[in-house]
């Protein structure tokens, strides 16, 4: 039986958790002092040993990514933090930055020191103005405290940290599109190779990491790789933030070891909305294939979720109860992907345009059962055919919903429209309305 393991979120309940004072009171910036006394390669080694994997969705080992940066190459290196959290359902970085921006800043300094970068950037989603302000203030405070700028803590390490506010594009969460956007261009994914570790920002070796990955670093340095690796499962080590939202009694962030199950998390969150039962859920945001109540005991780590046919992604657990029309939910997501497709490649640009129209027809009960095969075939022509993973994410909810809820699609056709009352699924609906 797993229990919560609050590390990043340990002091979120303190009124001043986001301030320098609050952070330091709880042991903040002690890891930094320790790190700056270490050999940079030793830090990379420590992070490798901890088994920390990227928390942005793909789960690539963080230490290995740092190790790809060529050292002694006489080039500038850059660290870029991806805070462009935009996936429907994903809501972990925003509260983390709101409640504890300094843990990210401390992680940024340690990571930059490790990869020998003297410039770091945080690329943050432009819509979250309140978070932007808070992080901006934290950076200013860190500069005033001598934690950023020249000769940090008198250890001879220099680091400039720039907060860059994005203009609101989901695609800029894709790391190479993010780099283009950061350079001032329109955000569209770049052709790889070269990978960012060789030619990233301004064509220099660059590490791009998720907020949560970097924020996890100070605790690893402070407590050691063994401490971190003692949590989680064999290949998915450590703790992470699980974000529960939707039809759940107490939605929010649950920091737990990797490998916890949704059944355990739902228990901790007080159960599914009272009077209802779980219908489907996403393990890691809307782009990961959906699960049903048959998957309640799937261990939520990278391997467990993959074995069950989905992806851990950003651990954004969106809970939908039986009042929700799956066709309607999938259509909304597809509309999102159509709106956010950057337009660079054909399958995504044209495919999402088509999928929205096809799903709208199905939602309105127009068409024939063969149209479901056609819809699947369109998805097959999009999935794995596009330039980046955005289109895969657009096809996934459609394919998985047809896998689990084909009958519900057919019912729309038989019914000549949606059999559900959309009001019943709203948060303000009276319990049991159907």
């Amino acid at each position: 039986m797993n229990t919560l393991t609050p590390v990043l979120s340990a002091f979120w309940d303190q009124k001043d958790s986001f301030t320098m004072e609050g952070y330091k009171r709880n042991g903040g910036y002690l890891a930094l002092a320790k790190a700056l006394a270490m050999d940079p390669d030793k830090i990379i080694e420590e992070v490798k040993e901890s088994g920390l994997r990227g928390r942005g969705g793909a789960g690539f080992p963080t230490g290995m990514k740092w190790g790809f940066i060529p050292q002694g190459d006489q080039k500038d290196h850059y660290l870029v933090v991806n805070a462009d959290e935009s996936e429907p359902g994903t809501c972990k970085d925003t509260p983390l930055l709101m409640a504890n921006p300094h843990v990210l800043i401390e992680g940024v300094i340690i990571a930059s020191y490790a990869i020998r970068a003297n410039h770091a950037f945080i690329y943050i989603r432009g819509e979250v103005t309140h978070v932007v302000r808070r992080v901006q203030q934290a950076i200013e405070d860190a500069y005033s405290a001598g934690l950023l700028g020249k000769n940090i803590l008198g250890k001879g390490f220099d680091l400039e940290l720039v907060l860059h506010v994005g203009a609101g594009a989901y695609i800029c969460g894709e790391e190479t599109a993010l780099l283009d956007s950061l350079e001032g261009f329109r955000g569209q994914p770049r052709l790889r190779p070269p990978f960012p570790a060789i030619a990233g920002l301004y064509a220099r070796p660059t590490v791009v990491n998720n907020v949560e990955s970097i924020a996890s670093v100070p605790s690893i340095i402070a407590n050691g790789a063994q401490w971190f690796a003692s949590m989680g499962t064999e290949k998915s080590k450590g703790f992470t933030l699980y974000s529960l939202s939707g039809h759940i009694t107490n939605p929010g962030q649950f920091e737990a070891p990797l490998g916890i199950t949704l059944r355990e998390l739902i228990d901790m969150a007080g159960g599914v909305r009272a009077g209802h039962k779980l219908k489907f859920w996403t393990p890691g945001g809307s782009s990961t294939p959906m699960f049903t109540d048959a998957h309640l005991d799937v261990p939520l780590d990278y391997e467990g979720v993959a074995a069950a046919g989905s992806m851990l992604g950003t651990k954004a657990l969106q809970i939908f109860d039986e009042t929700t029309c799956v066709v309607r939910a999938v259509l909304r997501w597809t509309e999102f992907y159509k709106h956010e497709s950057c337009g660079k490649c054909t399958p995504c640009r044209e495919g999402t345009w088509w999928l929205v129209q096809a799903l709208k027809n199905l939602e309105n009960g127009q068409g024939a059962p063969e149209d479901l095969e056609k819809l699947l075939d369109i998805c097959d022509n999009i999935m794995g055919r596009s330039f980046c993973a955005l289109a895969d994410g657009a096809a996934s909810p459609i394919i998985s919903s047809l896998q689990y809820f084909r009958d519900e699609y057919l019912e729309h056709l038989k019914n000549g429209g949606c059999p559900f009352d959309p009001a019943a699924s709203t948060i303000f609906a009276t319990a049991g309305l159907r």
Partner: protein, 796 residues
């Protein structure tokens, strides 16, 4: 520096200059193929004749992988990629096995799927689309697409068309967003005036509203657009491709030497496209070469004209006109001006005509500012090694002397730009100011008008350097000598780049006073004997002939009383040229009514390039041969008319056809090898310019690519993208005059004035630059000087 530039440089440096090319063998659809390392899979397949469908891929553009049409299955050493890969972005690797649509059901389905997606938003307006019938989308939808679309939804629509310049129109709903046009503009032309904007299905090609697509190379985007999204305003809705007869041709507009394709319907040129020659223009042309051809069918002369007793030009029969011309040329002392636009065969006709029919060496092809120093320089140049585009590719640095490549030979500009982008080729220019072209080449510009000769000697070059000398360098006395000396001392290669297409050929044909055909010196008795023997003629005139300026001078003085001219605009030579011509008996061979017709006594119509065969020698000395695209023309080539005229005079030159002229000229071979260097004869006084006083400046100018040139007439869409006609002055001078960008200034001397809006530029503060032959700026006529003279500059 972009990622791609870094990559390019890494690739270039890893290849090294002369290292052996590593070959890699892969298997495509069961067949082995060996290709050089770095080759993309899509091109390795092409080598086997396996055509993978594609849209965004273009061999001369950096890969982008946007359209996803070329997906294939790939495995490397038994490890299979989990999903199909874009073959246009992946270089071959040892142990690679590729299965295209021909052998992989997955690749075939992926391609069919992408094709269906490409078509869902594409209009079915092929019957009215310019591209219909020659459209890569149409063709590949037939060869690699599904038979029917399953799409029943609403298609994306846009307002149509929008002008992205006066000559390029964009139908956005047809666009498949392959980014060929935007990549061309950025990577090949260096003119990123168009870009993709918006996102998703609303992504579209666009311009910044204040900066239209003002590129000299915009027409290439129309040609490489794989659908009918970009169309040329002049050709739009004019023809169907299957009604056109295409003929390979050569461009007559400049000395770059572009391979062209002329598309003719019922005896009329409807469009021209860039031909494909990797050693010359690759697949590009400039907009002038592409769109300036209306002169072919406007104001054409259709019948000979003779001046009657009351001084009017009237139509005459051929026998009457020829007899009249022969009489006038044989009773007077006559000279020949060829102009710079003849084919080498025609120039040879003039050359032989002068020597045999007129018994004179008084012939010159330079209808522009020229000098004796230049004539000797050109004779010396023919003795040197030839320089080619490939030398630019390999150069360690390129020096531009009196030469503005983007304006005066645009394909050379593209070639230099390619190397600048690819490997940071170092470019230096001796010029009055940093033009936009030089900015794009990241050139180090030495701005010192009046002291050019000193500056030339200061360049530090190696035997891998290339010196490109423009015809304008002849305007600075001593500069050509200095350039030749620089080349000799450093071992650098030196090329002379005339502006007009015919000058290099005319030089080799001996249409100049000091040379006979095949680079033989007139002054050399043995050389004369060679030619006398070949022609079976009596003794040739022995005295070195007069130059253009000297001929005009002699006309003024009455020492020469008759003149044969072929395609010359007297206004190109000097303001007073026309007066000398009025005194003489002038026989003019022309394609259209011109300023020369006003003073001619006999006008004989001749064929335009499209109606005749022949060849131009480009700046490399490479023959650019072409056949007649309009085969049923009633016009004849100059050389044929000259041959008949010589018969009429009674001193035949026996050049009845272009082929005969070409064969005879070729039989001379290169006569330069048995001669000593002409360098010794080269010397000139260094020019001295007085320092400008207050409110004075040294005038400088050159011709813009798009200007008042007579071959560009009747093409308003092309003219719409001409660079603005402005006077460039320094910041300093603008402050002194109290003027800002766009204000009018007056440039004047005792002969006249020119008023132009000004533009502050990075210019020698003592100098002012204006266009040489644009609307409101024709300094040779208005000021009787085009360059290197003092003018007064004041606020207008």
């Amino acid at each position: 520096m972009s990622i791609q530039e870094i990559k390019n440089q890494e690739i270039t440096s890893s290849q090294g200059a002369d290292s052996a090319i590593e070959m890699i063998t892969i298997i495509v659809d069961g067949f082995e193929v060996s290709v050089p390392k770095g080759t993309l899979v899509i091109r390795a397949a092409e080598k086997l004749g396996i055509q993978i469908p594609r849209f965004c891929d273009h061999p001369l553009l950096d890969p982008v992988g946007a359209c996803r049409q070329c997906l294939v299955d790939i495995e490397i050493n038994g490890r299979k990629f989990p999903k199909p890969q874009a073959s246009c972005t992946i270089p071959v690797e040892p142990g690679m096995v590729v299965n295209t649509q021909l052998t992989s059901p997955v690749a075939e389905k992926a391609q069919k799927g992408v094709m269906e997606l490409l078509l869902i938003n594409h209009p079915l307006d092929c019957p009215v689309c310019d591209k219909g019938g020659e459209c890569p989308l149409q063709n590949q939808a037939m060869s690699n697409g599904g038979g029917e679309s399953r799409y029943e939804g609403v298609k994306r629509t846009f307002e149509k068309p929008i002008n992205i310049s006066s000559q390029v129109l964009l139908d956005r709903e047809r666009c498949i967003l392959c980014a060929r046009c935007t990549r061309f503009s950025e990577q090949i032309a260096g003119d990123p005036f168009i870009t993709l904007n918006e996102r998703g299905a609303l992504q579209q090609v666009g311009i910044y509203e204040k900066e239209p697509f003002q590129s000299y190379f915009s027409g290439n985007t129309v040609q490489i657009c794989p659908v009918g999204a970009l169309t040329g305003a002049s050709y739009r809705f004019r023809a169907r491709p299957f009604d056109l007869v295409s003929t390979p041709s050569a461009c007559e507009h400049c000395a770059s030497g572009c391979d062209m394709r002329v598309d003719v319907r019922r005896g009329k040129t409807l469009r021209r496209l860039a031909g494909d020659d990797s050693t010359v223009n690759e697949e590009w042309s400039c907009d002038k070469g592409r769109w300036a051809f209306k002169y072919e069918h406007r104001d054409r002369l259709t019948s000979p004209l003779i001046r009657n007793e009351s001084g009017e030009l009237v139509e005459a029969s051929w026998p009457e006109a020829l007899a009249h011309a022969a009489h006038g040329l044989s009773i007077n002392r006559a000279a020949v001006l060829v102009g710079g636009r003849s084919t080498i065969e025609d120039a040879y006709g003039y050359s032989k005509f002068a020597r045999i029919a007129l018994n004179t060496n008084d012939i010159d092809f330079r209808s522009r500012t020229s000098s004796d120093e230049e004539r000797n320089f050109l004779a010396a140049l023919l003795l040197g090694k030839s320089v080619t585009y490939l030398d630019i590719d390999k150069a360690d640095q390129v020096i531009l002397l009196g030469f503005e490549p983007e304006e005066e030979s645009p394909i050379i500009f593209l070639r230099i730009f390619k190397q600048v982008r690819k490997r940071g080729l170092k470019v230096s220019a001796l010029a009055p100011f940093t033009s936009r072209g030089n900015e794009k080449l990241k050139a180090t510009v030495i701005k010192n008008v009046g002291n050019e000769v000193e500056d030339i000697s200061k360049f530090a070059l190696t035997n891998r350097s290339v010196i490109l000398v423009g015809e304008r360098l002849a305007e600075v006395s001593g500069a050509l000598t200095a350039a030749l000396k620089l080349a000799e001392q450093s071992g650098a290669k030196l090329a002379w780049i005339p502006r007009r297409a015919g000058e290099r050929g005319a030089l080799e044909a001996g249409a100049i006073g000091n040379l006979l055909p095949g680079a033989r010196q007139v002054a050399d008795p043995k050389a004369r004997q060679d030619i006398e023997r070949a022609w079976g003629s009596g003794p040739l005139p022995t005295q070195t002939g007069l130059s253009t300026d000297q001929i005009l001078d002699a006309l003024h003085k009455g020492e020469i009383e008759a003149l044969l001219v072929g395609g010359v605009d007297p206004g190109d030579i000097s303001a007073s040229a026309i007066d000398g011509l009025r005194k003489a008996f002038v026989v003019s061979l022309e394609i259209r009514n011109s300023a020369m017709s006003e003073v001619a006594d006999v006008v004989l119509p001749v064929a335009a390039v499209v109606e005749k065969s022949g060849s131009f020698l480009d700046w490399q000395g490479r023959a650019r041969k072409f056949e007649a695209a309009v085969t049923n023309s009633l016009h004849r080539s100059d050389v044929r008319i000259l041959s008949i005229l010589a018969d009429e005079i009674g001193r035949p030159i026996n050049l009845g056809t272009v082929e005969k002229a070409a064969k005879e000229l070729a039989s001379f071979g290169d006569g330069s090898s048995d001669q000593k260097s002409a360098l010794a004869s080269l010397s000139a006084d260094q020019a001295k310019i007085k320092e400008p006083g207050k409110n004075q400046a040294i005038l400088t100018s050159w011709r813009l690519l798009l200007d008042n040139g007579s071959l560009q007439e009747h093409e308003p869409n092309l003219a719409g993208t001409a660079h603005p006609c402005v006077a460039v002055i320094s910041d300093d001078r603008a402050n002194r005059l109290g003027v800002v960008d766009g204000d009018l200034i007056k440039i004047s001397n005792s002969n006249g004035e020119i008023i132009l809006p000004l533009q502050i530029g990075d210019i020698d503060p003592r100098a002012i630059w204006i266009p040489r032959n644009s609307e409101n700026s024709r300094p040779l006529l208005a000021l009787k000087s085009a360059t290197h003279s003092l003018v007064s500059v004041v606020k207008a």
